[in-house]
Symmetry: C2
Amino acid sequence: MPSSPATPIQRTPRPKAGDQVAALVETLRAQIVSGELRPGEPLRQELLADRFATSRMPVREALRVLESEGLVVLVPHKGAAVAPLDPAELEEVYEMRVAAETLALRRAIPELSNAQIDRAERIQDRAEAAGMQDFGALNKAFHTTLYVPCGRPRLLAHIAALGDVADRYLTFTAGSLDYRDRSHREHRALLAACRQRDEAAAVDLLTRHISEAGKTLLRYLRDQPAGDG
Amino acid sequence: MPSSPATPIQRTPRPKAGDQVAALVETLRAQIVSGELRPGEPLRQELLADRFATSRMPVREALRVLESEGLVVLVPHKGAAVAPLDPAELEEVYEMRVAAETLALRRAIPELSNAQIDRAERIQDRAEAAGMQDFGALNKAFHTTLYVPCGRPRLLAHIAALGDVADRYLTFTAGSLDYRDRSHREHRALLAACRQRDEAAAVDLLTRHISEAGKTLLRYLRDQPAGDG
DNA sequence: GCATTCAAGATTGGATCCAATTTGGAGAAT
DNA sequence: ATTCTCCAAATTGGATCCAATCTTGAATGC
């Protein structure tokens, strides 16, 4: 992933002195989410240890963590593999996203400052200008900016984890102009509702935004059953 | 934990051949949730290894898993500890429970058979007859029985994890007769709504059931700020 | 020719060993 | 007496080693 010079967005590179596991988790998660590690691909401990110039032990702990996030499947005495893509999971995750993100938005709106809405709008400006390879990150940054003021760390972590799983499916279809165009329009509408502090409208828009995205992704996934495990 | 001879409820004892980590996770989780391991209590690797007659390695992996569930706090180079109790977390978790469990119930109601509702009712009968030490488990079993037909494994796992965290707070107050009595009444009302397949009423009842329980627990916790870390 | 068995290799699971970091206290300087 | 410094003990993090299990393929029997 060559870092575009002008858009670091919100990456957390983390030197993270003395903790190999955290670095492994971050890198592997990014590679799984981006599709660089394909669904179903086996993850051999020795191989990963070599690749990251470490021993098998931190690898094992990292795999446990990724398993708990649903990105890795761990079978005793058989090994780890990148979790396969599954249309049923896609539907489930998008339902959960609606529940979690509308909750975050409801709790965030009373706390939202105009400055924060402006920040979200600037991210949206960049998202519409950027190419498809940055779509995922900017899309997530936009949503996160609106949710963060809710001040609920656990909920935000849950949303981030669901987002990672969802992004795995996004890779296939983010190339579609239709998809991105509609997403951008819905983001603008959501911003307007937030500016008016119209909670009901915002929640309604967000609900449809997320569930429509899920349905679209599901269609794409069914049409081209790519690289499953 | 001496197993009560007549009420195995729904424990999953899991022989789980060849996987120490799973056993460690289950046992530690149960001990943390029950309060046997106190909030803030340090969890030394060597000590746990001795206690479970194993080496430090499975302990380390188990602690990682429990950290991802929010039951353990892991500080690099300092060690692990039972996660402290925090009123803010209690509120947050109960909000998340409302979101997740109402979703599960909505998706379950169309699939609910009368037999399953009967099963939930029988569990409720037992809950009202049982003492306070079984209240938590039977309470959870009742809810789970109503949610399982939704057929969403990921959502159910999320609800279970939230339930574990919530149960840590329940320990303080499950002794209260008021609390249990109201819970029982609300469960009966919820059952009635499910029998009628009245989704709106059921969701409304469940929402108030959970959030009122959260508020009550919060009051208890504020009154007696017991064993925080 | 085909299925079954068994053994060797590969891979994971667990134990032990060494290194790095933190903590706590003894001792010296102010 | 107090505070600062520095060293030793305790503890975690990482590497290596051994055991257990799974896979694979060849040999054997039908």
